[in-house]
């Protein structure tokens, strides 16, 4: 009797928290490959390199929770990043640049959201279209200016502040990682403990029933795209602070797919309504560690996506096993 119930408890834990198990496995592989010689800096580096992608994945996670998808995050990342650099170069204000990046990102999201929520177009198609549009516009603008990269003017008075924010740390923990974790905590709170958060799950779980229960489905879906856009915009600001430049052709390449992968490994169901935002932290970090593993092994960087693809399949496969046995 007790054996069975403890097995059930384990099963439940696996179902609810399999993203942690997957993360731990990947982390152990990382430790083994480095023969345990992993420094604290090595670990904080994982945080640092997860921050930008993680911020985007948080936004993606919200959209996925309502059962939608946003393929335009990589392109709007570059688009907003380029605009923010131009804006910052004009104003020289870090604070205004943050606000600008978030608002422009949210605006990009609003476009997606209205087309999906209000006009009832499929999210896949809408965001595929805006994905093409945002990047193309960004590249065109660069081309018109006769340059190849969006660059922050190093001569600006606040440049140092910006750069220190992007590359500094508090008690050895990188600033960007702290920002990401704070954002994640806020989203965890919203999705687990607010009425708005429950509406998101309701819409993703059964849109019709949610509507008949009084939830404004259209507005909820649009809001998710706006939130996603805002996160992407803020992520582009983080990237500016860290690297001070954007390449419209290559920056943010395939980010939409990595973000989706992080969300899926984090245990969020692509059809919506199921999963935890906390999973995204682990999903993103798992992906970052894979990068590190490949570097440590001295593998050809071109094989990077092969490994990531395989890990994604294995992770989802493991989650399926659980589903079938239930």
């Amino acid at each position: 009797m007790t054996g069975k119930s403890s097995k059930d408890i384990l099963k439940n834990i696996w179902y609810e928290y399999n993203f942690i198990v997957i993360f731990i496995i990947i982390f152990c592989v990382f430790l083994i490959i480095n023969k345990g010689a992993v420094s604290w800096t090595g670990i904080t580096n994982i945080f640092l390199h997860s921050a930008i992608m993680g911020t985007i994945a948080l936004g993606m996670g919200m959209v996925v929770l309502t059962g939608d998808i946003d393929l335009s995050v990589g392109s709007s990342f570059v688009f907003v990043g380029g605009l923010t650099i131009l804006f910052y170069n004009q104003t020289g204000s870090v604070l205004l640049a943050i606000m600008f990046s978030i608002c422009t990102g949210a605006l990009c999201g609003l476009v997606n959201g209205v087309l999906v929520g209000k006009c009832k177009m499929p999210a896949f198609i809408v965001t595929l279209a805006t994905m093409l549009i945002y990047r193309s516009v960004s590249q065109y603008m660069m081309n018109e200016m006769g340059e190849t990269r969006y660059r922050v003017e190093a001569s600006l008075g606040s440049y140092k502040t910006l750069f220190t924010f992007g590359n500094g740390s508090v008690l050895t923990i990188p600033n960007l990682a702290i920002v990401f974790l704070i954002l994640a905590l806020v989203m965890i709170y919203i999705t687990t403990s607010t009425k708005f958060g429950k509406n998101i799950y309701a819409v993703g779980s059964n849109e019709r029933a949610a509507r008949l229960a009084g939830v404004n489905v259209i507005r909820t879906r649009i809001k998710m795209f706006i939130i996603c856009g805002g996160f992407v915009g803020f992520a582009s600001f983080l990237k500016i602070a860290k690297d001070t430049s954007f390449d419209p052709a290559t920056s943010g390449q395939s980010f939409e797919l990595y973000a989706i992968a992080a969300v899926v490994i984090g245990g969020i169901n692509m059809s919506g309504g199921k999963g935890k935002i906390v999973g995204i932290i682990f999903g993103t970090m798992a992906f970052t560690i894979i990068d590190k593993i490949i570097t440590s092994l001295g593998m050809n960087a071109l094989l990077n996506d092969t490994v990531k693809g395989m890990i994604l399949l294995i992770a989802v496969g493991l989650q399926m096993v659980r589903k079938k046995s239930s």
Partner: protein, 506 residues
């Protein structure tokens, strides 16, 4: 000689027993009417025979062989053809393509012999006396023609036993007659029919024998020639008349909901006044507009004209949220699609609507919510283990009670019920009636739409009968009985009580 013997058939869905040791026998070459109220188990029994559902226990013997397989294909191969109540027509295919779907005629190279198929379809349609062009798109046919195509589809399959599940619902008088001619013609060739219908005159015209089911149990079987419609109805309805003891006379207040010349998709020019504390039944045949009316009142569909007043105020913003604010709630039909949020717990399913109204304070205080939930489990007698369990772990009746709790939680004082006892077993049904009566005693106003007249008889103060999207008659409690309601619902008498020529011309 018995062609079909179904013995001790038992079937339950999610713990609700819908067939309990049912026996059903059909002789070769007869038209056998299978009768019973909605939810009696007719469709389930036929779906087991047709291989759509698997039985939990029991045996099916067809043509002296046990039908062991339990797939649609197995049943088809044994020679059982099933004309479903819902149309299984592919709208994007042409008529002949629908007819030959899965058994297309091909030549040696595997390409389709279109000409042969078209001409064969022509012949079949001619035999049926139906004017359908084989190459027109199924989507372009009206409902009655689709129904005939559906029937033609099974006739085309060379079967020995035909199951016709309410085949005349969408047919007019003439088309029904044609169908009966075809049935008689096939009967003379030794084919056997199981005929499911609610329309007594049709049954007495076409059937040889009958079997009655009630609440998932076998009740009676016999020859049509030896019985009368009244006797058959008694078998079908059973003692449920006498259950009206739950009802008590209450004090009825002022008008709280009023419709003036209200129109929308499926209903026209409806005038009605509903008073505080009243229970009003709305009924009509499938497609009479009752469900549409409810959905429009609750803002799910757009109204097309007229006015809606709640508590004396005209409703101008017809959206769900503002109607909820004016004290309206609706327990929709089709619980699984329209009510249940499957990935959410009992607690979450209960508080969601109240949180839509109280959205200013965003934080959820779980402790308080749990207390409220426990209060509802007590007054509604919800059988559940833990408030964090998924709602899908409950039985249909308890799920429905959680949905009711969701709306009571909003403190709505007018509650619309759209077919609330669908897919709920008998015990839970009478519990829901009792709850409805209790709520009305506490001053809630209740409007209930159901096709099951005994339900209305048990609880309603008044009954509005719809026919063709219009109010046909408003019956007082003393006048509500199955026969009167059906006469009005089928348009057999007009609102003044005069009998008209029976026309099934909808």
């Amino acid at each position: 000689m018995e062609l079909l013997k179904m013995n001790n058939i038992t079937k339950s869905f999610f713990g609700v027993t819908v067939l309990d040791n049912v026996a059903f026998k059909v002789r070769k070459g007869e038209v056998h009417a299978l009768l019973g109220e909605n939810g009696a188990g007719k469709s389930t029994l036929m779906n087991i025979l047709g291989g759509v559902y698997t039985k939990d226990s029991g045996t099916v013997i067809f043509n002296d062989k046990e039908l062991a397989g339990s797939s649609i294909r197995d049943s088809e191969q044994a020679g059982i053809a099933f004309v479903h109540q819902e149309l299984n027509i592919f709208n994007d295919l042409k008529v002949y393509e629908n007819l030959f779907l899965g058994r297309e005629l091909r030549n040696r190279f595997g390409t389709l012999k279109k000409k042969e198929m078209i001409s064969e379809t022509n012949v079949l349609m001619h035999d049926l006396g139906v004017d359908i062009n084989p190459v027109s798109l199924a989507d372009d046919l009206d409902t009655s023609k689709k129904q005939l195509l559906e029937i033609a589809k099974t006739l085309h399959a060379d079967a020995g036993l035909f199951i016709l599940d309410e085949p005349t619902t969408a047919l007019n008088k003439e088309e029904t007659k044609k169908l009966f001619d075809i049935i008689n013609q096939l009967k003379s060739k030794g084919k056997t029919f199981i005929f499911i219908s609610h329309k007594m005159p049709e049954i007495f015209e076409i059937a040889d024998r009958y079997t009655v089911l009630r609440n998932g149990q076998f009740i009676h079987s016999g020859d049509i020639i030896d019985t009368t419609p009244e006797e058959v109805t008694r078998y079908m309805v059973g003692n449920s008349y006498s259950d009206s003891s739950m009802y008590e006379v209450r004090k009825i207040g002022n008008t709280v909901l009023e419709l003036k010349d209200y129109s929308g998709q499926g209903f026209n020019h409806v005038d009605a006044q509903i008073n505080k504390g009243e229970i009003v039944g709305i009924t009509g045949l499938q497609g009479a507009g009752c469900s549409e009316l409810m959905q429009t009142i609750f803002g799910i569909r757009k109204s097309k004209g007229g006015r809606l007043y709640i508590h004396g105020n005209q409703i101008t913003h017809q959206n769900i949220q503002s109607l909820m604010k004016s004290g309206l709630a609706m327990v929709p039909a089709n619980r699984k699609e329209n009510s249940i949020i499957p990935d959410m717990s009992l607690l979450e399913n209960t508080y969601i609507s109240e949180h839509v109204l109280q959205h200013r304070r965003q934080h959820i205080y779980k402790k308080g919510e749990i207390e409220k939930f426990q209060h509802f489990t007590k007054i509604l007698n919800i059988k559940a283990n833990h408030h964090d369990d998924y709602i899908t772990s409950l039985s249909g009746g308890n799920q429905q009670k959680v949905i009711l709790a969701r709306w009571l939680n909003t403190e709505a004082d007018i509650i619309l019920f759209d077919n609330p006892t669908q897919g709920i077993d008998v015990g839970a049904k009478s519990e829901i009636y009792k709850l409805i009566l209790k709520l009305s005693k506490e001053g809630k106003t209740i409007i209930i739409n159901t096709l099951e007249i005994p339900e209305i008889q048990k609880i309603a103060d008044r009954c509005i009968v719809f026919y063709h999207g219009k109010v046909q008659v408003v019956l007082d409690r003393k006048d509500i009985n199955e026969e009167t309601v059906m006469l009005h619902a089928t348009g057999a008498v007009n609102s003044n009580g005069h009998r008209q020529g029976v026309e099934h011309d909808w």
